[in-house]
């Protein structure tokens, strides 16, 4: 069940990433990092955060956002708030 929920979150995040990073072919995994995606930089990172917050109707703390080292950590944060 937990795995399914994480998977579901990941799928929804993937749609947000495709939209914000304007890359139809993008497939993100839990271990994907900003280094793996050309369009993912400091600025698009903020746009992703805002889009994820709006989509899931949650709010991250500044420290939480800066401690993410990969997509999996972002999923952890979302998961803990749902």
């Amino acid at each position: 069940m937990i795995f399914m929920q994480r998977n579901e979150i990941l799928e929804q995040i993937n749609t947000i990433f495709i939209d914000i990073l304007d890359n139809e072919d993008l497939v993100i995994l839990e271990n994907t990092t900003a280094n793996d995606v050309d369009e993912w930089d400091s600025l698009t990172h903020i746009q992703l955060v805002v889009a994820v917050e709006r989509h899931f109707k949650i709010r991250f703390s500044s420290k939480e956002i800066q401690s993410w080292t990969n997509v999996g950590k972002m999923v952890d944060s979302i998961f803990s708030k749902l």
Binding site: I46, V49, Q66
Partner: protein, 482 residues
């Protein structure tokens, strides 16, 4: 001890032999000799601040371990604040105390108040702007859990004081440098020859290009009050080329020296004058510093202001670049320089093209006309902003700009040794041609004449001879003062 000095060559030769051939059997001893070498290098410049450097290293080493171990969030925060305040506070005290006092006195005088605080006779510890940024980023990363605190004190002290980059960067983050200091290093011939080649290119940039351009930039800036607008444009051009060749040349030498020691440090320049807009320029100029600011200033600010959309980004970028300006030194010219560059980003943010990456001349030898115009316009913008960077004060910069905007812009430029400067311009043009050809590489000549050893060695000899011809008329590195 600057890299392009006989003293450094002797120091490095002795150090190199000890590092690779006498003390290389044990990593512990090799790291110890590296630390001793770094301290000798640092103390040679000014021994009075060696104790300060050791103290800062010790404090941050202990704080890193304590922050990591501490489970109580409030105590963790206090420990982090102590470290960050020590770093930024130390920097502010040594570099800016007198500036704040003098500015305060000026303002109080203008308001008719008779407040007059005394300034202090301070000497700034060399490299403080660079090693402070290392220690601060280390503590912030440990606090956020991005890295583990370094347990080995010799490794940590080496991270803070690594001699190839302590005086003028690149500013490496612990996550990049520390792991390299923790593993056995083996002498690799290819890595060493590549390091030598990068040092040669750095020396050429500094001694042949930067120091030659400096002659004309200095003449024109020192006499700017009596120069025509056209001459001032020439002065701004020479200074812009000098600044790039000087600082990127120093960085090439630092990176090359580190490679001779088996360590890879950050790339600091990526052919910034081929940038098509100001955002691209700052992604390619002083990369280790701008990426530091992006991670620890711009991104947290953007996160804080994320609800304000583009306005939040504009505020963040202006604060970020004003800090970038202040970092360069206690002068309003630097602060305005940073602020101005922050403002240059506004059209890109509004248009939403801030992070659009357009690689120049992709798949072709020459850029398109549009790309060429973009490059030329970006260079012109940078060149004019560099007047602020070079001017002694804001008044001189404003007079400089107003003369450029006058009718004298259309006169023929006049300055001493005008015809000699044409040779310098010709060599500079050749230099940029080599940079253009090698722009896909880590540095311009990394793979030059790769398949033609005769041409390659002839090219190296030309560089060596031109360096030897100019050696001895050395000017200081611009960034050593920061």
């Amino acid at each position: 001890m600057i890299f392009n000095s006989t003293t450094f060559i002797i120091f490095f030769f002795v150090f190199f032999v000890l590092y690779w051939f006498v003390f290389s059997r044990s990593l512990k001893i090799q790291n110890l000799i590296l630390l001793v070498g770094s301290y000798v290098f640092y103390a040679w410049a000014d021994w009075r601040f060696l104790a300060f450097l050791v103290g800062v290293s010790a404090l941050n080493y202990i704080l890193g371990l304590k922050i990591e171990k501490q489970e109580k969030i409030s105590t963790k925060k206090i420990l982090l604040y102590i470290g960050v305040l020590q770093g930024i506070g130390g920097l502010a005290f040594f570099k800016y105390f007198n500036f704040f006092v003098a500015s305060f006195n000026d303002v109080s005088q203008k308001l008719g108040l008779s407040l007059n605080f005394h300034t202090l006779n301070l000497i700034i510890p060399l490299g403080i702007s660079f090693f402070t940024f290392r220690t601060v980023s280390y503590l912030l990363d440990v606090d956020k859990g991005k890295i583990e605190a370094t347990k080995n004190w010799v490794v940590f002290f080496n991270y803070v004081s690594f001699f190839p980059s302590i005086l003028s960067g690149p500013i490496d983050k612990a996550r990049d440098l520390v792991p390299q200091l923790e593993i056995n290093r083996k002498f690799e011939y290819d890595q060493a020859t590549d390091g030598m080649r990068q040092i040669l290119w750095g020396l050429f940039k500094k001694i042949v290009i930067a120091d030659s351009c400096a002659v004309y930039a200095n003449i024109i800036f020192d006499n700017s009050a009596v120069c025509s607008g056209s001459t001032l444009v020439v002065g701004a051009f020479f200074f812009t080329i000098q600044a790039y060749a000087d600082f990127s040349g120093y960085s090439d030498m630092a990176i090359g020296i580190a490679r001779l020691l088996g360590i890879n440090i950050s790339k600091n320049f990526d052919f910034p004058f081929f940038s098509q807009n100001i955002a691209e320029f700052w992604r390619k100029w002083h990369i280790s510093f701008t990426s530091w600011l992006t991670e620890y200033v711009f991104t947290p600010l953007c996160i804080t202001f994320r609800d304000y959309g583009k306005f939040g980004i504009i505020i963040s970028i202006i604060i970020n670049f004003t800090i970038c300006g202040i970092w360069h030194g206690p002068n309003w010219t630097y602060i305005l320089f940073g602020f101005l560059h922050g403002c240059f980003f506004i059209p890109l943010i509004i248009k939403g093209t801030l992070n659009k990456r357009r690689k120049i001349a992709r798949g072709s030898t020459l850029p398109s006309i549009k790309e060429f115009i973009n490059v030329l316009m970006t260079f012109t913008l940078i060149m004019f902003s560099f007047v602020l960077f070079r001017a002694n004060n804001v008044e001189q910069a404003l007079n400089y700009y107003s003369e450029i905007l006058s009718n004298s812009l259309f006169q023929i430029p006049v300055y001493p040794s005008r015809f000699d400067s044409i040779i310098v311009l010709f060599i500079t043009a050749l230099f940029f041609l080599v940079e253009w050809i090698g722009r896909e590489n880590h540095y311009a000549i990394a793979t030059i004449f790769k398949n033609n050893s005769i041409a390659r060695w002839m090219f190296y000899y030309i560089l060596v001879i031109s360096i030897l011809v100019k050696f001895g008329k050395v000017q200081d590195f611009i960034y050593a003062q920061f």
